[in-house]
């Protein structure tokens, strides 16, 4: 990993299209400004990680398991009759 030291107001460039500026350093937090092309996706790492985990959970759904869930959440014949009566 490349490690650079920057002060407030200083920047680093990645290629020709991405510029990252340190705009504030305060209470152990660094605020960054990022200039890049519109189609470059920039995400907080923890958000990307939570989506990775949610995707893993989503692909763990087995068709048979979902069938079972659907069956157990269908209204019973008795429930259906009482809904119709209302």
């Amino acid at each position: 990993m490349l490690v650079l030291t920057r002060r407030r107001g200083q920047a680093i460039c990645i290629g020709d299209d991405i510029r990252i500026v340190v705009t504030r350093i305060e209470d152990g937090q660094v605020r960054l400004g990022i200039e890049s092309a519109h189609d470059v996706i920039i995400l907080r790492e923890e958000l990307l990680e939570s989506v990775r985990q949610a995707n893993q959970s989503a692909q763990a759904v087995a068709p048979a398991q979902f069938d079972q869930w659907l069956q157990s959440h269908r209204p019973s014949t008795q429930d259906a009759a009482s809904i119709q009566e209302e």
Binding site: H38, V51, A54, N55
Partner: protein, 165 residues
């Protein structure tokens, strides 16, 4: 037609039924070819089945079923005038619990080009549309969806108990 192994067995799938992933799914970036499968008895839900990895399939539904709405468009669909969003469904650990949606990462489908991708939003907006009566997947996805039937099941789809995301 080519036969592909899927979580639903070996299925003949034509080129017109293949969707190409242009904005990869985080955690599954290597998977690029998918097909959409609809089991009639499962109402509005569809399966996004990988054609590169037979064991991987995602359950999807229109975000409105979870009371969600995505007014923005992802970058890869910026030039398109059509398109439809779906969300991944996560099955709860306990049978009695509600389904959950992967609300921060909807998928956007472009039926004209059969392309789709996943994008990440900071937050989803509540839907103003009530489609709790809908029993089928969005009609705009209808053409390239492969319909499957389960002969041993009741054919009537009943109202679903879906929880908030």
């Amino acid at each position: 037609m080519t036969d592909y192994s899927t979580r639903f067995g070996l299925l003949p799938i034509s080129d017109a039924q293949i969707w190409h992933c242009v904005a990869p799914l985080p955690g599954f970036a290597e998977l690029r070819r998918f097909t959409l499968l609809h089991v009639q008895e499962q109402g509005p839900f569809v399966w996004l089945q990988s054609l590169d990895e037979p064991l991987i399939a995602f359950l999807l539904v229109a975000p409105e079923h979870f009371g969600l709405h995505y007014p923005q468009r992802p970058q890869f669909a910026a030039q398109e005038t059509d398109g439809i969003s779906m969300v991944m469904v996560i099955l709860p650990q306990k049978t009695n619990d509600s389904l959950q949606a992967n609300a921060l990462a909807p998928l956007h489908f472009l039926p004209n080009t059969r392309q789709f991708g996943q994008w990440i939003v900071e937050h989803a907006e509540p839907s103003l549309t009530n489609i709790s009566e809908a029993q089928t997947p969005p009609a705009t996805l209808g053409v390239p969806i492969i319909q499957l039937g389960l002969a041993h099941r009741d054919s009537t789809a009943s109202p679903l108990a879906i929880g908030a995301a």
